[in-house]
C-alpha cells in the first residue's frame, strides 16, 4: 500500500504519513499490483477468492479478466472488495488469490528448493516463509533472496523482472509493473547467516519501503518523504534509497504483532558523527552494490589491534534474553491466521486437504537465533 502511494505520488500520504487513510480505489490498485505480478506470462485471468460461508471455511473463486488492461481488473476488484478483502480472514484470502493466480503447481515448483519444501508456512508455529513473502511481493514463491544465483554464482535480481526482453516481444503485458516489481525491498537477517548480501534490487528498491526479516518475523520500514523534486517521471530518486541523505533521516517502522506490537515507531537514522570531513555534515551512506561474483572476505585483526575474547560483563540489566524470548513469541500475522484456521494455502489449493503433505520442517530460525543470543548473555546480572 505504501509503495502504491509512492507510485501515485499521493500528496495526502506525503503529508500525513502513517495516518493517511487510503481510499478504496487506491487499495484496489495496490491489490491489483500484487495479483498482477503473480500472473504467469501466458495467463490472462486473475483469480480472486472469497469465503463461501464463514471465514476459514470453503472458498469461492471469481475469475477477473485482465487481458484488456489493468483498469478492468481494478474495477472488478473495487466491486468485490467489500465481500472479499475487507472481511475477516482477508489476509488468507489474498494469499489464496495469489496462489491460484500463479497456479498451485507453479508455486510448488517455485518453492521446491526452499527449506520449507514447498510449503508457504513453516515450523510448528506456522510462521511465514520467505517463499510466501516472495510470492506476494515478487510474484514468484522464490525462497532465495540473496544476491547470487546458487547455480552460476553470478549476481542476479530477486523480485525485479527484466523489462527489456518482454517489451522487445511486443506491448508490455499487464503483469509487468512500471518498475518491474512492486518497488518494495527487503533487508534480511539471513544475509549474516548466509554470508552473502541480499540482492541489490531488494536493498535499493524503487521506493523507500523495506520489509525487515528478523529471522522468523517480518516487519515494515518505510519513509513518507516525497522523492527529490527533479526526479519526476518513471525514475523517482529517494536519498534514503540512494544513500545520499545528509544528516539524519527518519523512517517509520511498523510491527503488527504482539507482544512488541502493534507499534508504529518513528526511527531516526543518522550517520556516525565523526565521519563529517572538512566541517561538512556526514552523509548516511548506503551499502555498495554486490560484486559481480561472490567474494569472500575475512578481516583478521592486525598486530596491535584488540580482539574481543568473547566474554562480556555488565553492571546493568541488558535486554538480550528478553529479545531472544520475544523472537520466539513474535509470529507473523499470516502465520497466526493460518494457525487459527488450520490452513495451508498451497496444500489447500492443490486439493490435498488440510494438514496433509510432507512433514513440516522442525526447528525454526528462532532456535538458531537463540544460540546466537545466548552466547551474548551477560555474565553479570543477566538480562
Amino acid at each position: 500500500m505504501v509503495a502504491r502511494c509512492h507510485r501515485t505520488r499521493d500528496a495526502a500520504f506525503f503529508a500525513q504519513g502513517p495516518d493517511f487513510s487510503p481510499p478504496l480505489r487506491l487499495l484496489a490498485a495496490a491489490l491489483a499490483d500484487v495479483l498482477l505480478q503473480a500472473l504467469p506470462p501466458d495467463a490472462a485471468v486473475v483469480r480472486l477468492c472469497q469465503w463461501a460461508d464463514a471465514p476459514g471455511g470453503a472458498v469461492a473463486i471469481d475469475e477477473l479478466p485482465c487481458a484488456d488492461g489493468r483498469e478492468a481488473l481494478e474495477a472488478g476488484l473495487l466491486r468485490c472488495l467489500p465481500g472479499t478483502l475487507l472481511c475477516p480472514g482477508a489476509a488468507a484470502l489474498l494469499v489464496y488469490s495469489a496462489v491460484l493466480t500463479r497456479g498451485a503447481a507453479t508455486v510448488r515448483e517455485d518453492a521446491k528448493w526452499g527449506a520449507s519444501r514447498g510449503s508457504l508456512v513453516v515450523g510448528p508455529m506456522h510462521t511465514c516463509s520467505m517463499e510466501l513473502v516472495s510470492l506476494l511481493c515478487g510474484g514468484r514463491a522464490d525462497p532465495d533472496v540473496l544476491a547470487y544465483d546458487p547455480a552460476t554464482q553470478r549476481r542476479r535480481s530477486a523480485w525485479v523482472r527484466a523489462k527489456a526482453p518482454v517489451e522487445a516481444a511486443g506491448p508490455a503485458p499487464a503483469w509487468l509493473l512500471p518498475h518491474g516489481s512492486l518497488g518494495v525491498g527487503l533487508l534480511s537477517q539471513s544475509e549474516r547467516e548466509a554470508q552473502q548480501p541480499v540482492a541489490d534490487d531488494l536493498k535499493s528498491p524503487a521506493f523507500p519501503v523495506w520489509l525487515l526479516h528478523g529471522g522468523d518475523h517480518f516487519t515494515t520500514l518505510f519513509s513518507a518523504d516525497p522523492p527529490l523534486g527533479d526526479s519526476l517521471g518513471d525514475t523517482p530518486r529517494y536519498p534514503l534509497v540512494e544513500g545520499s541523505v545528509v544528516g539524519a533521516a527518519t523512517a517509520w517502522h511498523w510491527n503488527g504483532l504482539p507482544p512488541a506490537g502493534p507499534r508504529m515507531a518513528l526511527l531516526s537514522l543518522a550517520p556516525p558523527a565523526k565521519d563529517g570531513k572538512d566541517g561538512k555534515p556526514a552523509a548516511l551512506a548506503a551499502a555498495k552494490p554486490a560484486p559481480e561474483t561472490i567474494r569472500t572476505t575475512y578481516k583478521k585483526p592486525k598486530e596491535g589491534e584488540v580482539r574481543t575474547s568473547g566474554y562480556t560483563a555488565t553492571t546493568a540489566s541488558v535486554g538480550v534474553l528478553p529479545v531472544y524470548q520475544s523472537a520466539l513469541w513474535v509470529q507473523n500475522v499470516l502465520a497466526c491466521l493460518f494457525s487459527a484456521c488450520d490452513l495451508d494455502p498451497v496444500r489447500a489449493c492443490a486439493g490435498r486437504g488440510r494438514g496433509s503433505g510432507a512433514p513440516r520442517r522442525q526447528g525454526s530460525t528462532a532456535e538458531r537465533r537463540g544460540g546466537v543470543a545466548l552466547r551474548g548473555r551477560p555474565r553479570g546480572e543477566g538480562g
Binding site: 516487519t219 517502522h253 510491527n255 531516526s268 537514522l269 543518522a270 596491535g304 566474554y311 541488558v318 552466547r375
Partner: protein, 177 residues
C-alpha cells in the same frame, strides 16, 4: 550496550604466521613510517596498541572473573582447554600489596608469570575490560551486531554505519524485528 564492558586481548602475530607476515609488514611500515610515529603513544585513541601502551589494568567489575587472564593461554584454548585465568593469589614473583596479598588485576606486575603456561605477563600478554564506547570502531560495530537490538544490524545491511535511535519516545526501546 553502553553499560557493558568487553574483555579484549591484544592481537599479535602468531608463531606460524609471523614469518610470512613479516615481509608484508615491513613494506607497509616503510610506506607509512612517518604516520606510525605520529600514532605512537596514542594507541588507545586510534585502536592500536603494543604491550607497552596496552592498559595494565582492566577493571572487569561485577561479573568479571577475578585475577587476570593470560593472552597466550587464551590464544591456544582450543588445543589446551585452558582459558588462562590466573587467580589473584597465584602470580608467583609478582608484586604484593601492602597487606601482603596480591591484588586482583590492578597491581599485577609485568614480571608475574602465568600459572598455566609459565610465560611472563609482559611476554604473553593479558586481557583488559573496555567499555563499549572505548572499543575500536570495527569492534564496536561487531559487538553491537552481536549483542545489541536486532534491528540495528539489520538496518546496517543497507546503511553500514547508521546510528539508530527513536525520533520520539526517547526512553523507549528500539522496536523488535
Amino acid at each position: 550496550m553502553a553499560a557493558w564492558r568487553f574483555e579484549v586481548v591484544l592481537a599479535v602475530k602468531e608463531a606460524d604466521e609471523a614469518t610470512e607476515a613479516a615481509e608484508a609488514d615491513e613494506a607497509t611500515e616503510a610506506a607509512a613510517g612517518s604516520e606510525a610515529k605520529a600514532v605512537e603513544g596514542a594507541g588507545a585513541a586510534v585502536g592500536r596498541f603494543d604491550f607497552r601502551s596496552f592498559p595494565a589494568e582492566g577493571g572487569g567489575g561485577e561479573g568479571a572473573p577475578a585475577g587476570w587472564r593470560c593472552r597466550s593461554c587464551y590464544a591456544t584454548r582450543f588445543k589446551t582447554f585452558c582459558f588462562g585465568i590466573n587467580p589473584p593469589t597465584a602470580d608467583a614473583g609478582a608484586s604484593t600489596s601492602e597487606g601482603g596479598g596480591v591484588s586482583a588485576d590492578a597491581c599485577v606486575s609485568a614480571d608475574a608469570a602465568c600459572v598455566h603456561c609459565g610465560v611472563l605477563r609482559r611476554t604473553g600478554g593479558w586481557s583488559v575490560w573496555l567499555p563499549h564506547d572505548a572499543l575500536p570502531g570495527g569492534w564496536m560495530r561487531t559487538v553491537t551486531s552481536r549483542y545489541g537490538p536486532p534491528i540495528v544490524p539489520l538496518l546496517r545491511t543497507k546503511w553500514p554505519a547508521v546510528h539508530v535511535t527513536l525520533a520520539t519516545e526517547a526512553d523507549a526501546a528500539l522496536p523488535s524485528v
